[in-house]
């Protein structure tokens, strides 16, 4: 049998070598004369802690890794399309500046991913902004300072910033200056942030952290939105006192009418509920198929109302997941309990709703009303899964008995009650 591998075209070898950890790829240099530099022209370089032998001494690992990456870059020839470094050992190291300078000189790099250590954040050099062909930028634990003359990354499709130290207006300008941006993930900035997003081609948005305000000024094409919003208690209180007449729910969601998927956690439901109830919405979310809302406070009538408005503006909803926040205050006054009858459009049906999941259920009145409403208006429902919260104070049997009486629009609906 012959050697079938050594004479494969470089494009196939590239596909094989880039699927190996880079250390294994470099080791192929020893296989034969032909193999000496096959690794050196791969276009994707992915470095992580696996590149070097482990050690108890972080400094030793850092030094080995720096040596490894620097030597690899020096021996490499040809374009580099993807450069990734993921490690917690590199901290504030001047070599990172040189690597980025090297990449920016040929400026072929399309994907740049730097996930660094959390202790001391590296300030990335301004030559980063010379990488004109970037389509994908993913940064974690570093400092970013776009130069004033920076005109944007004209090819950037995907931007992810996690624990990145950067001024709010700098992020906003960066987002705005990347006209092709489709995918944006922002998480854990140093201070709580109020942010305005202008991204006319944005399709996927993920935000997690301490945001005081999120304004989607220009994101008409957004398909998927996922927000985990934390708020310091004093900020939350400040919002309650402010009482703007414009409900956040309207301000926020009506700007994204093509949404297909919406997920919100922590304070998100509360954030949406700030302001006056808008009444039935003038628009419907015809494309909204999936809604996931976690930590909704069912004792807060404003949050319940937002929930009601949201789901009754989503006629094509297919999957709905909701969990209750911790039960804190006693039940609402009786006259607020008929809001489901009062405020839901008459004869409302969820024509496509098939799956409902309710978790951390406490069996309180608004929760039961939601279950009743969903069961009664979902003719194609397949499963409704209910998991009680660990702090369930209400008698579970009582809740189950009540549940059994609810009219079910779908004869096929299975109600699955999950014990712990």
């Amino acid at each position: 049998m012959d050697d079938l591998i050594s004479d494969l075209p470089q494009s196939i070898l590239e596909s094989i070598l880039t699927r190996l950890p880079i250390r294994d790829a470099v080791k192929t240099s020893i296989l034969s004369r032909k193999w000496r530099y096959k690794w050196a022209s791969i276009t994707e370089l992915v470095f992580d802690d696996e590149c070097v032998s482990s050690s108890h001494d972080g400094n030793v690992v850092e030094q080995s890794l720096v040596k490894f990456i620097t030597r690899a870059l020096f021996l490499h020839h040809g374009p580099i399309h993807k450069f990734q470094v993921s490690t917690c050992y590199l901290q504030s190291c001047p070599d990172i500046d040189q690597w980025i300078l090297f990449l920016s000189r040929d400026s072929d790099v399309r994907e740049l991913i730097l996930k660094l250590g959390e202790d001391e954040w590296v300030r990335l050099p301004s030559c980063l902004f010379n990488c004109k062909k970037l389509t994908h930028l993913d940064l974690s634990c570093c400092e970013l300072d776009p130069p004033p003359r920076f005109k944007g990354f004209s090819c950037l499709r995907s931007l992810s910033l996690h624990r990145v130290l950067v001024a709010a207006d700098a992020i906003e300008n960066l987002i705005w200056s990347c006209p092709l941006l489709e995918n944006l993930a922002l998480s854990y900035f140093d201070d709580s942030l109020a942010i305005t997003i202008r991204a006319p081609n944005l399709k996927y948005l993920y935000m997690e952290g301490d945001f005081t305000d999120i304004f989607l000024e220009n994101t008409p094409l957004l398909l998927s939105l996922s927000v985990v919003m934390y708020m310091a208690d004093d900020v939350a209180e400040h919002f309650e006192l402010e009482q703007s007449s414009n409900c956040n729910f309207v301000k926020f969601l009506t700007r994204v009418p093509h949404l297909v998927s919406l997920a919100g956690r922590a304070y998100f439901a509360k954030y949406l509920s700030i302001g006056d109830d808008p009444g039935p919405l003038p628009i419907t979310f015809d494309h909204l198929k999936i809604i996931e809302l976690f930590e909704v406070s069912f004792e807060d009538m404003k949050e319940v109302l937002v929930l009601l408005r949201l789901i009754t503006s989503s006629p094509n909803l297919e999957e709905f997941s909701i969990s209750a926040g911790e039960s804190t205050s006693p039940a609402e006054a009786p006259d607020s309990l008929d809001i489901w009858e009062r405020e839901c459009p008459a004869d409302w049906t969820f024509k496509q709703l098939k799956v409902v999941k309710m978790t951390d259920v406490n069996g309180i009145p608004h929760e039961m009303d939601l279950v009743k409403f969903l069961l009664g208006s979902s003719p194609v429902l397949k499963t409704m899964t209910i998991s009680p919260s660990t702090y369930f104070k209400h008698d579970r049997m009582v809740m189950l008995i009540e549940l059994l009486r609810f009219r079910r629009a779908s004869s096929e609906a299975e109600i699955i009650f999950l014990q712990e």
Binding site: L4, T28, R71
Partner: protein, 164 residues
């Protein structure tokens, strides 16, 4: 139930016959493949869209034995309703072949631009290389050393940082 109107041809159209494409291997064997399956190959997709696919398509680089299997692969991957797990298991079986055949698949996938098959083949080869010593790799792939000891020493020195 009333009988359908006799003159109308549009009340219930007959199911469309699946459009087939014929491929001819290097050794003259012909194989039919559904158009939907053929779309797995970018080369064939381009030809279909430019309407060159109506007659026989010669595939000069690929033997009948390999082409048959490639057609099987594309048809399987174009099938509706197959879950990821069973497709993965099917793929695993597909590449459980001797090296000659595996590399034939890879070359065929490269020529016909079938990304799914190319990825599968290359991943399989990568998995054979991963974690092996250079000697083991040479043995697995029948790579004969064409280096002198001096050359080998030079390469080891050059890449010592990767062997540490």
């Amino acid at each position: 139930m009333s009988s359908p109107p006799s003159a109308s041809a549009s009340s219930s159209p007959p199911p469309c016959p699946k459009k087939m494409i014929t491929l001819r291997s290097s050794d003259g064997a012909t194989f039919e493949i559904e158009e939907t399956a053929a779309l797995q190959s970018k080369t064939l997709e381009n030809m279909i869209h430019e309407n060159c696919a109506s007659t026989l398509i010669p595939v000069p680089n690929i033997t009948g034995e390999v082409l048959a299997r490639v057609v099987e692969f594309c048809s399987k991957h174009a099938e509706a309703g197959v879950d990821d797990e069973s497709l993965g298991a099917w793929d695993e079986e597909f590449v459980a072949v001797d090296h000659t055949t595996l590399f034939d698949y890879i070359r065929a996938a490269n020529f016909l631009e079938i990304p799914t098959l190319l990825d599968l083949g290359c991943q399989t080869v990568a998995d054979m290389i991963k974690g092996k010593t250079p000697d083991e790799i040479k043995k697995t792939f029948k790579i004969t050393t064409a280096c002198t000891p001096e050359e080998e020493e030079e390469v080891r020195g050059e890449n010592q940082w990767a062997f540490e």
